[in-house]
């Protein structure tokens, strides 16, 4: 006969094991949310703004987007989302009703992120306190004001697909490629776009002189004159940690926030992986 004591013990062990698996997903998810730079876009400016509760205006040449609330509030946030809803948003750029997201949500890069990592991020987001906060409606130019326009854009400019590691590259390179191209979405700012706003992958990280706000971003390919070819791997790692360039200058504008909220929060190993990958892409001349 089975002793009831054993049952209780087994159940307790099961609960503990379950709890700790959950906890690891949550803490891994937190790390990945840093790596993904989610906080920048999904948090309003100002010290009293609640992280990830959305409402931040993102100005573009098509109008102003307001980032949604991604805390688990069931009505104004994503509290009712299933795992499938979450995966499809990142992999396919589609919301739970089947409508298209605008690429101001960089699913164009996130489409490469693995299922395991996305579900860990979801677990982390769902562990946060729900915040009741409705993001304002986007204020967009008429010709893109319906989500059908986003769908039309995607047909031409969006290629869904998970990251596939390259067998003849090192583990560090593959990790770096995953972080730069997908989770860290560095190319969204640093790679030029064609006239339809699609990222030109054959000019990877060559700098974008035509950012939506009329500004530009520097070339971070390893070109020795136009890019960062003179930076050593550990110079890049140091930059991603504290934002300082090898000549003693400090970075600024939006890259300050990328360093503060994202790359400085990564392990040194991950920053070195990013550096390894950056050193490996083709050197691109400036425009």
């Amino acid at each position: 006969m089975r002793s009831p004591g054993l049952l209780v013990v087994t159940a307790a062990v099961f609960v503990v094991a379950f709890a700790s698996a959950e906890e690891t997903a949550v803490s891994r998810g937190e790390y990945l949310v840093f790596a993904g730079g989610c906080i920048d876009c999904h948090t309003e400016a100002g010290k009293q703004a609640v992280q990830l509760a959305g409402g931040r205006p993102l100005e573009t040449s098509f109008g102003t987007f307001y980032s949604p609330n991604i805390t688990p509030d069931p009505t104004t946030g994503i509290g009712q989302w299933t795992d499938e809803n979450f995966l499809r948003a990142f992999w396919e750029g589609v919301n739970p009703d089947g409508d298209h997201y605008y690429p101001s949500f960089p699913y164009t890069s996130y489409t490469g992120v693995s299922r395991k990592d996305l579900l860990a991020m979801k677990a982390y987001l769902f562990s946060l306190d729900p915040v009741v906060k409705q993001a304002p409606e986007h204020e967009l130019a008429l010709f893109i004001s319906t989500r059908l326009a986003a769908g039309a854009w995607k047909l031409r400019s969006f290629e869904p697909g998970r990251f596939v590691p390259s067998e003849n590259r090192s583990t560090a390179w593959n990790r770096g490629a995953y972080l730069v191209r997908h989770l860290g979405h560095c190319g969204e700012c640093h790679t030029p776009r064609d006239s339809f706003g699609a990222i030109e992958n054959d000019r990877e990280l060559a700098g974008n002189s035509d950012m939506p706000d009329g500004d530009s971003t520097p070339n971070i390919s390893p070109h020795r004159l136009d890019g960062i070819g003179k930076w050593a791997v550990d110079d890049i790692e140091y930059f991603l940690d504290i934002g300082m360039l090898p000549d003693g200058d400090s970075t600024g504008s939006v890259m300050s926030a990328v360093v503060d909220n994202s790359t400085s929060k990564l392990t040194k190993e991950d920053r070195l992986a990013i550096a390894t990958y950056l050193k490996s892409v083709p050197a691109q001349r400036g425009e």
């Binding site: 003693g248 400090s250 300050s256």
Partner: protein
């Protein structure tokens, strides 16, 4: 003869001091500002090579920290004159948002003080930590008040 020389010297001195008082053109003010910024980054870069153990004799570290201490008081005066953003990267926010800008200067000056306090101790880990804080202060001001790098 003597009298003439004396008078001439006086005139020249007067002319020089007048030149120093005269308001510089916006271009010259920007060039001057950028020179000071480059001086900051020169010393800052040298310190970073030392704390990372890559180059430079750590015995010289104090000199570079002292240089930052000497330069830190001048920052305010660099921004007295507003710029026109033709050939410089000083954003209008500096003059539109003077309180936040004053905070950024204060952060920077405090970070230099803190670095100079630990620099004398020679404890590399503490110096590294204080130097990182200084980096944050530079970055913090550049985030809100310096135009993006233009290729």
């Amino acid at each position: 003869m003597r009298q003439t020389i004396k008078r001439l010297t006086l005139l020249i001195t007067l002319a020089i001091s007048l030149a120093a008082v005269a308001e510089p053109t916006p271009e010259d003010a920007a060039k001057y500002r950028q020179s000071i910024m480059k001086a900051l980054s020169g010393h800052n870069g040298a310190i970073s090579m030392m704390v990372r153990g890559k180059a430079g004799d750590p015995d010289n570290l104090g000199n570079h920290v002292q240089a930052l201490v000497n330069l830190k008081g001048e920052i305010e005066s660099l921004f007295e004159q507003s710029s026109d953003l033709e050939d410089d990267r000083a954003l209008p926010a500096i003059w539109e948002n003077p309180e936040a800008f004053a905070d950024a200067i204060e952060n920077f000056q405090a970070a230099v003080e803190a670095l100079s306090e630990v620099a004398n101790g020679g404890e590399m880990q503490a110096i590294d930590a204080a130097h990182r804080e200084l980096g944050k202060a530079c970055k913090g001001c550049h985030e809100d008040f310096r135009l993006k790098k233009q290729d």
